[in-house]
Symmetry: D2
Subunit: 357 residues, 4 copies
């Protein structure tokens, strides 16, 4: 049985490059040879033991590659084709998929279908920080890359761009809206870009890292707010003449950003939450208008599937959103442990790394 | 200046019947002679000092009456007409009204328009537990009562029915949905009726008062759950074969009901909150799937305006929802202090009282 | 190779019962042994040559049966299980499925995916007026029948009920709406039932057959209009005090019903069209307010898939809609030619026939 | 009584500048002193007698001006303030307004409220091609102009921009959509800009005038199609690899553009119609997939009201859409007859004219 290299979760604090068998291809699967992948903030949570996965699992959920082998029942694709797959790989046939909630696809321990059940790569099946990855339900999940786009141009589509844009989409951003985005990491930057794509005319970005605030202005942020420069709620209220924002997007996963997002909403506004929270949240009764403010709080798990990927690559191809500046560092797969070290410690101004086998 | 009787907030613990001048009618107003009104749970919060209003204010926001006098600029109505007005009286011309959020109408202290600004009667202007009430923006808010409907039949339209139904509407109930309603007071009962009206096929009602659980089955509840008979989440999960509910409606305003509502949602489900909360809320991180469950939390302040009232009276006239069983007690306005006493202490199985001047 | 009986399209005017091989089961398929099926108006169009299908094709798209054999890749079901499948059988993996338009699934001659591509049974693959039928993409399309429901109780779910309800759903019926349904055949009756299920308080049914108008009142129609008793638009305008209807559902497929549906709309109303048209339609410029009336015209092909079927069977199980009165006649599969004859000529007050092998 | 100059409809073929009394200001009105206005294609229909208005009516529905006098009941504005008002001036208090269909506001001859009833200026009340105009329901309709925007920058907001954008909005354009716009007059150009603002990545513009196709590329059109260069449906199908478009926007009002828009839709696509039709439309049964294509046809009358205008001016202020290139010619009000002559004959490459008293 042929072997491949893969970044494997060994125990809390240790993700190491090791060898594994190249997976067998089932009738509905596709085997991809990875050409580029990356590390996500969620992978760092896994590394730190904050998000539990099985020991021995290959990590990574952002694959760019070439179809090495197709399952016997897979039609519509051909071996050798360049493709991506979303971080979330819905089956297409679950009840969740059929009621418009494909990211919650899959078997699970709660409610008949497990929450977050659509997230499989590097979570419940082997992921793509490896030489090869097996894509389940390939007809749902493989998405051909247009010839004129490079690997790095589409590297953000599987997760960062899909998640970030969904913050704006589920928030229901409309033409002429004022939107605030809390935390300008890669997800927040994509949320800002998504808000702009949907017609927001004022996009307020909140962070404190100068480099991020700077990149943000190229991705749609019209007003940068440094949360260390004063009370962030007051700053945003001043910027909006006391009106508040139509949509506030939370892109970090902390009580502080969640609460500030709620406090800057206009009555009837939407808090669109993207962050992964690691502890309970508190909703202050005054910020919530005692439940009478017509507020909405919406959460979204990254949308996947080939139609979603097709649309995101359309955005890249159109030149409307250029995320290449987010790729600040490059590593070989052989050096992925060093890449984790850099990324987990957020050294050297790293935004995203490109990993190539 | 002619005088009238009115139930007036004097201080914490005291709402008394006293005399006040009959109000002057401005160009856009209408003066109603009240024929029937009622007491709301919110009025009890005011009585107890839990919700602050100005001393001297007339309480009450559920008016049924006859047009006594129309303002000089009001067209489309005639004096002597039987009408209701919603508890919430939007102006029709605020930014909030024009962006589809009329209940948040009005001037205010936050965001240019104050949260809950559309609630005026018995909150920021004199209410309708009186012989007369002045209706602002009468062309927006007066709604003629069909001849064949009695005062008591439409008494729930201004608030209870509008609020309760909105729990189902904002929750997005669809044909074939499973819905849980937490607390079967008048609002919760109307939420259940609304869920049924929108096509829910399983409506789980949660309470512990036998009389309420009994009435509930006449208003659309298909499965009654007594929260004292065991863990409420477990009971609902068992009823739904572990699937959870599509929409959970919170109709009380407590941490316990809010949290249970969240825990019984299927991934991608909606928590539709109607309760008035008096302290901070906590969102347990596990119940929230760390922010990745595609859950939505929506809140709603009672929709008002004449079109809303017209539709609700259509529902009553169609015979599809009969709320008369909710009117358990009758009082003269002269005896309103006794009515408050009964209602505030929930004695004698009271659901709603009808007050007639 | 074992044989089965099947109703086969031979040529215009001739659908005959003949023998065919029982189909082979592919990895994603399921073979159903049909226990009950029916004839649809569309099948009569096929019989008459008005809708072209391949010679030799088995007709029928409303299967109720038992799983005889599952494909090798099908999980989540078991042989011997009682199931239905929708008339429309989406694949779950097409672009159409993944953009929320599953009924337009499938390969095709236009636009990458063919219009009406999701309709396969008795259209592009063998249908279910036979002893056995092969269900494609079984994991998407098989839906278990609750034990307490009979074949006849769920016989309308695959097409009639799904199509009829979708007329109300796509029309966006809301609580308190006034809805008109044009033509009260099985589809129109289900549209009326769907409008009522979604909260319509006035449901106007238009037909001229007394028996249908009578059944209609049991399925939600509140006002029956006989189009031979006077100008139908005038009658509906009189019933609505000149206001018009919020949603008009066309359930026949003719210029007359389409045009009347448009003419009774209130400004901003929705014409929800379910009929299968056999010639060009004309939109009178006056009825269309020259394009300035904020009108919408929506069309819908029957939604399919197991989640849809689950919900429809929930409706049946809840007792809220009882369609058994629609099954007016029973035939053995051996007598299906007689059943076609009766049904095509609409003799003896036939609404729907139940066919049992 | 003071007099003012106004462009008055005298009879078919004649709109002339004449004198009229400056209007009296009612309690809810505002009198604007016009500083800039323009001529709309609809005004040319009126000139030609194709759209009937009363003799003696002042024409024009695109006002930019200064508040000269406020009615006694109008609050929230001050005399001397620079404002615009939408072409459509809803009352805020009609049933149409309160059910989310404000453009269909107003008394009328059909359905209780007349179709197109919200269009008052230059239709049922005196318009703004004059020195002064009376704005009804001023609190709903006056919208202050940000200081840094010139009259010409906001001149398109009242009608062209609001109508054009609504074509994209009602079409439900999403991120990554392919949109086709039929006819690139001012409305079509704004529809293209709106589609781009909402996230369309391919915007196909159809026209044959080279200048328009050229301007179009600056407003969001990515692919220009000259309908004289070959069959327009074939051209668009080729551009979309046979897939068709998600949304087709009709911006002319003819059978040819309407029909082509329908024929290029993908199954499940939306035809968003903005044109004013002067004769009946035909829906070819094949293009309509016999009613089974899940197509939608939506129509929109220009949205008005101060919140809409505020948002559109936000778009202008943000620099995202620059419509100044559309203002190709300038005239004094005294020369408005010459302006009509130029505009009606579409001479000299005219797109829009600016008229200043």
């Amino acid at each position: 049985m042929a072997k491949m290299k893969a970044a494997i979760f060994v125990e809390k604090g240790r993700i190491v490059l090791d060898e594994k068998p190249i997976p067998e291809v089932g009738p509905l699967d596709a085997l991809l040879r990875i050409t580029t992948t990356t590390i996500c903030g969620t992978d760092v949570h896994i590394l730190r033991g904050e998000y539990p996965v099985a020991k021995g699992l290959t990590i990574g959920h952002e694959p760019v590659g070439v179809i090495e082998k197709l399952g016997s029942q897979v039609t519509g694709f051909s071996e050798g084709q360049r493709v991506i797959a979303g971080a979330i790989t819905p089956s297409g046939h679950s009840y969740a998929c059929l009621c418009g909630c494909a990211s919650q696809d899959g078997p699970g321990t709660r409610h008949g279908f497990r929450a977050t059940g659509g997230w499989k790569f590097g979570n419940i099946i082997d992921g793509c920080q490896a030489e090869y990855v097996l894509v389940p339900d390939a007809m749902v999940n493989l998405s051909p890359i247009p010839d004129n786009l490079s690997d790095e141009q589409v590297l953000m589509c599987p997760d960062i761009m899909s998640t970030g844009f969904s913050g704006a989409e589920r928030g229901g951003v409309q033409i002429g809206d004022t939107v605030a985005v809390f935390a300008l990491g890669p997800i927040g930057l994509c949320a800002a870009a998504g808000a702009r794509l949907m017609g927001a005319t004022t996009v307020i970005g909140v962070d404190t890292v100068a480099a991020r605030l700077h990149v943000a202005t190229r991705l749609g942020v019209t007003h940068a707010v440094d949360f260390k420069a004063g009370n962030v709620v007051d700053q945003i209220m001043a910027l909006t003449d006391g009106r508040g924002v139509d949509v506030a997007i939370e892109a970090l996963g902390t009580q502080a950003t969640f609460e500030s997002a709620l406090r800057v909403l206009r009555p009837g506004g939407v808090l669109s939450s993207l962050g992964v929270y690691s502890s309970d949240l508190r909703i202050p009764v005054d910020a919530f208008a005692a439940g009478l403010g017509d507020y909405r709080i919406v959460t979204t798990l990254c949308p996947g599937g080939k139609e979603r990927m097709r649309r995101l690559m359309n955005v890249v191809a159109s030149g409307r959103v250029d995320l290449k500046p987010l790729v600040t560092h490059h590593f070989k797969l052989d050096d992925i442990e060093a890449a984790y070290d850099l990324f987990a410690h957020q050294r050297d101004g790293v935004m995203k790394v490109a990993i190539t086998p």
